[in-house]
């Protein structure tokens, strides 16, 4: 399918073990209707993987399926050699997988601070330290710590959602459109921070519609279309691929 896969293999060190490996995943919400039709992706240790694709391609479904929130019909999800297909979400968290969903990603009735505490539900001891870290990224959250997340603006919610995931210090982080609704500068900060986290050794799989930015910072990327991984390659390669540009990226950013 992709002429670029060889190149992809070249960029990532082949010696690196695979941290997350999704093979031929078939999953869906309703019986008989598959949204994912044999989708395979892989994240190696320390890699930042981007996933882009048209609306309704199944990107969110893929993340949810990996995280045990959607019924998997066949295929497997392996995290560090362990088959976790169909495992319950809270078990995955204990295995070091963190997830930021696309919708409904905050506890609306809880305050910002409590949202952060939920992020650290497993290890409440280090709360203060991690909270400082998150508020350094999103100072608004520190200032508003007692405000209920339900009353926050769209962008502020997004910050809370990111913050909650970052509180966890996961080994593998699944992000579903973390930059949506953020102001440009916040988007950049988010990308940079994700990049940084990734450099610190966390494998990140990130779904984005802010595709260019995503491709810029990721090590490798997949283009998902109709429940399948249609293209893969390094971010740079995909950005240059005219097909990808035409179908998924658009040329808006290039026009002046």
């Amino acid at each position: 399918m992709s002429a670029t896969s060889a190149a992809a293999a070249a960029t990532a060190s082949p010696a690196e073990e695979s941290v997350v490996k999704v093979t031929n995943l078939v999953a869906g919400y309703l019986p008989g209707v598959n949204i994912l039709n044999g989708c395979s992706i892989e994240a190696r240790k320390g890699e930042l993987i981007g996933i882009i694709g048209p609306n309704g391609a199944g990107k969110s479904t893929l993340l949810k399926a990996m995280f045990g929130l959607v019924k998997v019909h066949s295929g497997s999800v392996v995290v560090r050699g362990q088959d976790i297909t169909g495992l319950k979400a809270n078990k995955l968290v204990t295995k070091g997988v963190g997830f930021v969903p696309q919708n409904n990603n905050v506890f609306a009735a809880l305050t910002i601070e409590e949202n952060m505490q939920m992020g650290m539900f497993q290890r409440p001891k280090d709360f203060a330290e991690r909270f400082d870290f998150v508020t350094s990224l999103f100072p608004e959250l520190g200032k508003r710590r007692a405000q209920r997340a339900g009353s926050l603006s769209g962008g502020e919610r997004q910050m809370v959602a990111m913050g909650r995931a970052l509180m966890m210090e996961p080994d593998v982080l699944l992000l579903d459109e973390p930059s949506a609704g953020l102001s440009p500068v916040k988007q950049d900060e988010t990308f940079l921070r994700v990049h940084e986290i990734n450099r610190a050794g966390v494998s990140v799989i990130m779904v984005e519609q802010n595709a260019r930015r995503c491709l810029q910072i990721c090590d490798r990327a997949y283009v998902l279309d109709q429940g399948k991984d249609a293209y893969t390659g390094t971010g740079r390669e995909l950005m240059k691929d005219p097909k990808v540009i035409q179908l998924y990226l658009g040329t808006l950013a290039d026009e002046v």
Partner: protein, 340 residues
């Protein structure tokens, strides 16, 4: 739909697409008068337990133009939308739409008058099909009155019309394949699209879009922008909130910048984006955060700047990397954000 504006200027046939007359009536300044405003808001304030979410002294939205409302997260954009459309009540202030005062007018009446909004956190009628969602948007449906609902003869014709209209829109918004699915089964981006398409079904005079393109695929966004631009040709006015500067630059005739509830700048997109106050309010506000991890940022920023394919550092990077660059160029002059 746009009968009102046509009546006011019956003779001159203006092509709104190419109308280049100045938008502002005088100087371009925050809260300036417009040549032909459709919405005029005065002293609209709303506070939530101490926070002034919206504090707009004076704002006019130009008619037949596309106005972008930008500003940092929590600036009060959505809240302003809520206030203008009657979904929330302000602490003070008055505002009018086409000369009619809207204070205390209930949301549905606002929409009937031709001012329709979408929601940032999407609201779709989950257990109605996509098509029914669209039809629901259609205005002036005789069949929506209880007295006529029983007789298909009365409303059947209009139903066909709006169905045709809906089909066109759905195709544009790439939702035609999902026409008969429950809206609840749409993906995040598809919901945004449906919401926007549905608001257009009303054929409003002013459509207010709250981050219409957040989560929408860039390629699709691009194709939709033309559609939005074309709304002008139909005599519509567009007011939208967006964080995607490419889109703003691409289609907006006018940009209004909000920060901490206030209008801090407005003007044509090119000018506004160079305005230091705008950079201050929208972009520079948080750069001091980066200092803690300046190393990593610099590294990445440098890497991105060095990369010729990256838009960072290039002209069309626009504002995106400014703070990174600023952080790089050492001592950031304290552009204090809450320096009141």
């Amino acid at each position: 739909m746009s009968t009102h504006s046509e009546e006011s200027r019956p003779s001159e046939e203006i092509d709104y697409m190419t109308d280049t007359r100045p938008i502002a009536a005088g100087d371009t300044a925050p809260g300036c008068k417009k040549r032909d405003p459709i919405v005029v808001a005065e002293n609209v304030t709303r506070s939530f337990g101490g926070i002034n979410a919206v504090d707009v002294e004076y704002l006019e939205i130009p008619r037949h133009k596309i106005t972008a409302l930008i500003g940092p997260n929590g600036a009060g954009k959505t809240t302003l939308f809520n206030l203008l459309t009657g979904f929330d009540t302000p602490n003070s202030g008055k505002w009018q739409f086409e000369g009619n005062s809207l204070a205390g007018v209930s949301p549905y009446k606002v929409a009937r008058m031709g001012m329709v909004r979408t929601f940032q956190l999407t609201k779709v009628m989950g257990k109605l099909t996509v098509m029914e969602n669209m039809r629901l948007g259609g205005s002036e449906q005789p069949g929506e009155r209880l007295s006529k609902a029983l007789f298909k003869g009365i409303w059947g014709g209009r139903e066909k019309e709006i169905t045709a209209q809906a089909n066109v829109l759905l195709e544009k918004f790439k939702l035609d394949a999902k026409k008969d699915d429950y809206a609840a089964s749409l993906s995040g981006g598809q919901r945004k699209l449906l919401e926007m398409a549905r608001s257009l079904m009303v054929r409003p005079k002013l459509v207010m879009l709250d981050e219409p393109m957040a989560g929408v695929n860039p390629a699709l966004t691009q194709s939709l922008l033309d559609h939005i631009k074309n709304l002008k040709a139909e005599g519509m006015t567009v007011l939208f909130v967006e964080h995607d500067m490419n889109m703003v630059r691409h289609i907006a005739d006018w940009v209004v910048v909000m920060a901490e509830g206030r209008i801090v700048a407005e003007g044509p997109p090119g000018e506004v984006m160079k305005n230091p106050a705008v950079i201050d309010a929208y972009l520079g506000a948080h750069h001091d955060v980066d200092l803690g991890d300046a190393e990593g940022i610099k590294e990445l920023a440098a890497e991105l700047v060095a990369d010729e394919e990256s838009i960072v550092g290039t002209e069309n990077a626009g504002i995106i990397a400014i703070d990174v660059v600023a952080a790089d160029s050492d001592e950031p002059e304290p552009r204090k954000k809450d320096s009141e």
